[in-house]
Amino acid sequence: MTDVVVTDALEEVAPPSGRHGAAAWASWFARRIGLAVLTLWLVSILVYVATSSLGNPVKAILGRDYLADKARAAQLTSQLNLDEPLVTRYLHWLGGLFTGDLGTSIASQRPVSELIGSNVVNTLVLVLVSAIVMIPVAFGIAMLSANYRRRRPDTVIQTILLTLAGLPEFVIGILLVAVFSTTVFHLLPAVTLVAAGGHPWDQPKAMVLPVATLVLAVAPYVSRIVRSTLLEVLDSDYVELARLKGIPERVVMRKHALLNALVPGIQVIALQLAWLAGGVVVVETLYNYPGVGFQLVDSVRNHDVSMVQALSMIIAAIYVLVNLIADVLSILLTPRARTAISS
């Protein structure tokens, strides 16, 4: 609803000023962090309620013994503080989260924080290595495909990607195992064996299949999205003008198209990285990879409530963090959004 007056030239847009800009950035960033914290807090409620009040954990742990072994039931109930009201229990648990006290594992009777420390690192390494492999692969395929748009090589690539995108990660994983370690070739280990105190990457060969599975599960999707954004950008008016201005095609691709296709690419990568946080559950179980996913499935089987709570909070935190980084990156790379904040 701004009004265009004839002598408009100068005063239409207030120039963003440096100092004001910095303050605006700080406040935007604070808001964004606040939002992330709020999300995590709501997640914590969800996790706590889902694990400890929807069903009866004690009954689940003891199974048929629940009615028979009254003493054990009572002991578990008090260890899980189930005799206290839900809100008190939750607040107690939340307080523990802040002080680093994640509770005690029911299965092993050891502090949760002690049990999961190295697994968190292992999972982060797995996700990070997968991302480092996946991003250039996905972008490369997308650019190759966009270059051949709607011609034979593009169609072939797209068909392959579409097929891969439909496969659940455990299907991909087992097929890889069958081909590379058990049935066809015997090149790579099918499971990750880690000596006590060691790390999975001590034997790099053992990392190959888990990483390959995650990359194959995620890259097709990312690649397809990046390709379609690239095509959209290549059809835009400003790319047409750049061509009509006489700019060589490779400069058009590099400076005009790729720059504008990057932001949607980052967002989809973030979404997929976050999705990897869930994907590791299946992949780690498949390869016995000692990460949080493997541990989570094990804990769920054992109805180890405290472990599940801690591990799912960690996975949700990874997700929120990745999203936060992606948001900041997209804003920094989009001039319109950037100037909207600083002015």
Binding site: T39, G55, P57, A165, F170, I174, A274, V282, Y319
Partner: protein, 292 residues
């Protein structure tokens, strides 16, 4: 302004795109028909499989991990082919209902948020973001911690609910593009009831993208339900179930590959089929599901 880029007006030359339903136009797509064929075959196999099975699903027909029969025997010596024919129904039914639940819930949340706008929209979508911070399989696992033996309906609800926020986000996006169109304002100005505006004006214009989303959600449902089986969380430990079959026979992968590969391949084919269908519909939806 180029004549080329304009759609051919006039009833004469070719039937205008909007005259054909989304499904009819999807059928013109090769990937859709291929996907449909694969899906149909596997659904038929899953539904009528038990009638064709040579043995009972818990009948021991030979030694463990032997090569007796088409796909050999499994870890208990049960016939893999038989269990394969029995094991689809559960996955199919649970996936279908979970998809249905997720779609209904998600569309409801998304469209209401888009149509109501403002404060409502803000709250609904903020809560939605929270559930999005949860990888889908995680939600099921967290709840299953406190459950001893999951029933089918629990898995349906868990998978369905984990779809809902994702569907809602898409539905809201699509609906936002429609509720701001003038024909919705026109209905408002006439004083149409809100429910009628949603049902008669907004929803029909969302059918193509929603159909594509349903296909995608079905693909994910199958993957999730099978993955839960693979992780050892199935409704009945004795009954055959493709996902669980993989878990049961994993240790025998080197000796009796088919006991694992057969269920893996059939799940893979199934999801590839539904995904191809979904993408076929999505292609149609993208070319303007009769809305432009």
């Amino acid at each position: 302004m180029t004549a080329v880029s304009e759609p051919t007006p006039g009833p004469s030359p070719a039937p205008a795109p909007a005259e054909k339903s989304t499904l009819r136009r999807a059928l013109d797509q090769k990937r859709f028909t291929v996907g449909l064929t694969i899906t149909a075959i596997i659904v038929l196999l899953a539904v009528f499989g038990p009638l064709l099975a040579p043995h009972g699903q818990n009948e021991v027909v030979g030694p463990t991990f032997s090569s007796k029969g088409l796909f050999g025997t499994d870890y208990l010596g049960q016939d893999v082919l038989t269990r394969l024919l029995y094991g689809g129904r559960v996955i199919l039914l649970i996936s279908l209902f979970a998809t249905l639940l997720g779609m209904v819930l998600g569309v409801l949340i998304g469209v209401v948020a888009a149509y109501a706008g403002g404060w409502w929209d803000e709250v609904i979508m903020r809560l939605n973001d929270v559930t999005l911070a949860f990888p889908q399989i995680l939600l099921s696992l967290v709840v299953l911690t406190a459950v001893n033996q999951p029933r089918a309906w629990i898995i349906i609800i868990l998978v369905g609910i984990s779809h809902a926020p994702r569907v809602a986000r898409l539905a809201r996006g699509v609906a936002l593009g429609i509720v701001s169109r003038d024909f919705v304002y026109a209905a408002e100005a006439l004083g149409e009831r809100r429910s009628r505006v949603i049902l008669a004006e907004v929803l029909p214009n969302m059918s193509a993208p929603l159909l594509a989303e349903a296909g995608l959600r079905l693909t994910y449902s199958i993957g999730l339900v099978a993955a839960l089986g693979f992780l050892g969380f199935s409704t009945d430990p004795n009954a055959a179930n493709w996902g669980q079959m993989i878990n049961e026979n994993r240790l025998g992968l080197t000796i009796q590959t088919w006991a694992v590969l057969a269920p893996v391949l059939i799940i893979g084919l199934f999801t590839v089929g539904t995904n191809l269908m979904a993408d076929g519909v999505a292609q149609v939806a993208q070319r303007g599901g009769g809305s432009e």
